[in-house]
């Protein structure tokens, strides 16, 4: 179990960012880099100059729009309260430039394919190496003319391949597009046997059945959270285990762990589910023969 508070976590500007524009980051929770279930959860402030071309990832992510607007073109706009699930292999965007600043909570995590998730530290090292042989412009890595290799690459792909030393093979997409959810339009349903506790199940996705849900606790009500995922306090305050919770207090629970929230005032707690590591596929990197076919010309 990990517990972190949004108001106690330092803000930094990420030098490893491969997209265009400035992003202020707070990393609250993170996983085991050696595990295919690795993850990173944080709060992100995107400045209005942020831009990202249409792209995809070899990991999954949830994004929660806290303030401002993120425009994903044909995939829709995220307004405050909207939650997006971006499955691995699914294209989305382009994103931005947006009007004003946008503040989101985001978790990126290894998806069903078992390809895992590259850490910030690995990305920092890889990007520093790429900065010596090219430039990142609006989410695209442009290799210097005198350097052998592909001229233009998606910035994330370039960093990932530099970090991992092999071509990035995207998992087949299980969905046609990201899933944007509007929790305010779901109905609260009472949780049987739990006074003062209501739930909105927002959906579950992929063959790992990754869940997303939110609970509302009346003063005095309790929630015993269980199941691998990130539990983020959207509003309210109360007692969490031996300490306190308040807005943006966030908890990571591994499979089999539990955490108890007891509300002092009306509180909402959001689950951004993570797949059980045992359910992830065993990823086999491509064979040497396949790698040769994929070498940039």
């Amino acid at each position: 179990m990990q517990i972190a508070h949004g108001d106690e976590t330092p803000v930094f500007n990420d030098a490893s960012s491969v997209r265009g524009g400035k992003v202020d980051k707070q990393i609250l929770l993170s996983g085991d880099p050696a595990s295919p279930g690795n993850f990173k959860f944080g709060l992100f402030g995107q400045h209005a100059d942020f831009y990202s071309p249409r792209h995809r990832h070899n990991f999954c992510q949830f994004r929660v729009q806290i303030s401002g607007v993120c425009d994903y073109a044909a995939n829709g706009k995220m307004t405050p309260g909207t939650i997006a699930f971006m499955p691995e292999g699914v294209y989305y965007g382009p994103q931005g430039p947006d009007v004003g600043e946008s503040y989101t909570a985001t978790v990126q995590f290894g998806g069903p394919s078992g390809q895992g998730y590259v850490t910030l530290e690995q990305k920092n090292v890889a990007k520093a190496e790429l900065d010596k042989i090219g430039v990142f412009e609006k989410g695209v890595f442009r290799r210097n003319p005198d350097v052998p290799g592909k001229r233009n690459m998606d910035g994330f792909e370039a960093v990932w391949e530099q970090a991992m030393g092999r071509p990035l093979i995207y998992p087949d997409a299980q969905y046609g597009m990201p899933v944007l959810m509007h929790p305010e339009n779901f109905e609260w349903l009472p949780v049987a046997g739990a006074d003062g506790l209501e739930i909105k199940t927002l959906g579950s996705f992929t063959d790992c059945q990754i869940p997303c849900a939110t609970w509302r606790l009346q003063p005095g009500a309790s929630l015993t959270a269980k199941g691998r995922g990130i539990y983020m306090v959207l509003s309210g305050q109360g007692v969490l285990q031996d300490g306190e919770f308040r807005r943006f207090t966030s908890v990571y629970l591994d499979t089999g762990e539990t955490a108890r929230f007891k509300a002092r005032e009306v509180s909402e707690i959001l689950l951004l589910g993570l797949p059980d590591v045992a359910e992830l596929r065993t990823y086999s990197p491509p064979t040497a023969a396949v790698e040769r076919q994929l070498e940039p010309s």
């Binding site: 299980q174 509007h182 109905e187 199940t201 959906g203 059945q209």
Partner: protein
């Protein structure tokens, strides 16, 4: 009224009594085909008019961008269905179009055949029956209007026409009040690509593997594919939520009846099934509808009355 376990062979599906209210040239000559057959499923709940059937849509079929006040899923049996510009649903793929979510325009290229389920969603809005739709369309035509390109057009004395989305016009004609839509829970339809999902064994049903494609809304409406190994006997069971199981490949034997491709089971909650035998193997498309469990539906109705 309580529902029974129902099984239908494809031959027991019945033709639709009325054309779609949408689709280019519904009234005109050369209207692209939309042939629908549907199973006479009785949910046992009078408010729930569930349509499950087999649609064949012809080349050139068009509907404008629109939304529904009910939920639906579509699964492509053959061909490819256009969902919007640059977005097609291919053979073996499935889409969930939740109530209140806009989609389209649909501009069909080539023929496509689909399994389609439409049913009142969490909002509980009444889904009009074909008979009711037919009567409402007749009344609207008798009023001097006509249907074209998914729009009901009522000519005015000044030479212009009063235009309404055709489904809305028909729904309002039948119900005598303005149609309302729930606010969208999801921004877009959810397109599922089952070929990228993995089969996982069902611990409760030896010989059955499942692809769980997605679970949606606060009630947990879900869709899955089942692959049943040859020689499997799906044991007798009591479901907590109603399920609609459609055979998409192979065949199943139930109570002496052979249910083969495009045949369907409707199994209400709380009733004990007989074993389902699949001597040569089968694949099912399975919809689970927790909000149609009688207790859940009655509770939801009570909440809606309170909210109103």
């Amino acid at each position: 009224m309580s529902a029974k376990i129902q099984t239908f062979r494809f031959e027991e599906a019945i033709g639709r009594a009325v054309k779609s209210t949408r689709g280019r040239g519904v009234d005109g000559a050369g209207s692209p085909g939309l042939n629908v057959v549907q199973f006479p499923i009785d949910t046992g709940l009078p408010d729930i008019n569930l349509r499950f059937g087999f649609d064949q849509i012809g080349d050139g079929f068009f509907t404008p961008r629109h939304r529904h006040n009910f939920d639906q899923f579509r699964y492509v049996v053959s061909g490819a269905m256009n969902l919007a510009k640059g977005l097609d649903l291919h053979e073996g793929e499935c889409v969930h179009v939740p109530e209140g979510t806009y989609y389209g325009p649909l501009n069909q290229k080539g023929p496509v055949s689909l399994l389609v389920i439409q049913f009142p969603g969490p909002n509980g809005a009444y889904r009009i029956s074909d008979t009711e739709k037919s009567a409402a369309m007749d009344a609207l035509k008798a009023a001097g209007g006509f249907f074209e390109d998914g729009v009901y057009k009522l000519p005015k004395p000044d030479g212009h026409s009063l235009n309404r989305d055709s489904y809305e016009a028909v729904w309002e004609q039948h119900n005598g009040r303005p149609i309302t839509y729930s606010k969208p829970r999801y921004e877009t339809p959810i397109v599922m690509r089952p070929q990228a999902f993995r089969w996982t064994p069902d611990p409760a049903r030896p010989g059955v593997e499942i692809k769980r494609l997605g679970t949606f809304n606060e009630h947990g409406t879900s869709v899955a594919l089942w692959r049943v190994a040859p020689g499997t006997l799906i044991p007798s069971e009591i479901l907590a939520a109603p399920e609609l199981r459609c055979v998409v490949r192979g065949e199943a034997l139930y109570d002496g009846k052979v249910i083969d491709a495009k045949g369907v089971f409707y199994i209400p909650e709380g009733l004990r099934t007989d074993p389902i035998e699949c001597p040569n193997g089968a694949e099912f498309l399975v919809f689970t509808l927790p909000m149609y469990a009688r207790v859940a539906w009655e509770a939801a109705k009570a909440r809606r009355v309170l909210a109103a």
